[in-house]
Amino acid sequence: MKFLVVDDSPTMRRIVCNALMEIGYTDLTEAEDGQKAMDKLTSEEVDFVITDWNMPVMNGLELTRSIRKHETLGNLPILMVTTRGLKEDVLSAMQAKVNNYVIKPFTPDILRDKIDMILKIGS
């Protein structure tokens, strides 16, 4: 399963990728904003997107909406991992149709649980 990790912070991308490797996912690719993520998604085969919210150019919420509108990528699982912890933020993300939501800081276990939950519902 190939993961696309989208975050403008190189540190966070590295932390998320390390956490994914820790829980057994090794096929990973990265993008630093929503626009670059869309470019990757249309040129590479990706099975799962993990995205931050606050990013320049195209933020995570806009990326989610773009993916959902896309004719072939529409059903891609999306997990939002963000510092935005207000209830209205979570609702906005849900309305944009992310599959699940994690508030930073997270642990590899939390990440695994969320991924499992999404994949279980998807299957």
Partner: protein, 266 residues
Amino acid sequence: MNNATDIQRTLDRLDELRSIFVLGQRAVPFIEEVVLLIKDMSPLLENINGSLQDSASKLPSASSQLESVSQATEMATTEILNLVDLALMKCNELGKRIEATGAHVAHVRGENLSFKKVLEDTLGLAWPAVAAAYESHAGVQESSLRAMEKSLGTQQEAVNVLKEGMTQIMMSLQVQDITSQQIASVNHLIHTTRERLNKLTENLGARSVDEYDDVNLRLQSGATFDSNARYDLPGLREVTEPELAEFDSAGDFATMGDIDALFANQ
């Protein structure tokens, strides 16, 4: 008759004019006081204006320093991550060696049993004569193998603790992202405050604060941040019974329990 009326009107006008003069006379001291007050206030206003310009001119430097803090923590975080990666790699190597040594111990034990079987089969009736010596030798060897296995177990345990610690350090480094967003938020506030001070000093007739700048604000264009970003221990926001009825109450932080319950109902 007309003349008398006209005269009366003129006299009325003169009365009105006199009243205005009287009022003017009374108002003059007040106006003088106001003028004096404005004269007194003028240096005060200049002081205020000077203070505003001084404060506004310091803001770019404050912003720049905050930006430096953010960059420094990013660099330090990268260095720590490099070391953590290296330590994790070494832990994994060590783990594999321990596993390989464990497999070797098991292999030696298996070989010993095979060798015993070969001796029994080869020696036949003569086996009981050497059995005691063999068992004594095998006992010593088995004892060594067990000590080795115990040591390997302890080493594996230490490696696991180290790996867990390294993973925890790595996860704690998320604090860098969270604090840099808070810093970006403060920088945004500084930027806004500076713009308002600039407008205020312009309204007071002074030059724009920008004209005094020798340091440009280094607020990145398109910088994104979450002003509510905060660092809690992972999973600390867990609740046992999420109250979804109150979920949309603005300004409240969501717990992991809230989120799980919300997305489970999707």
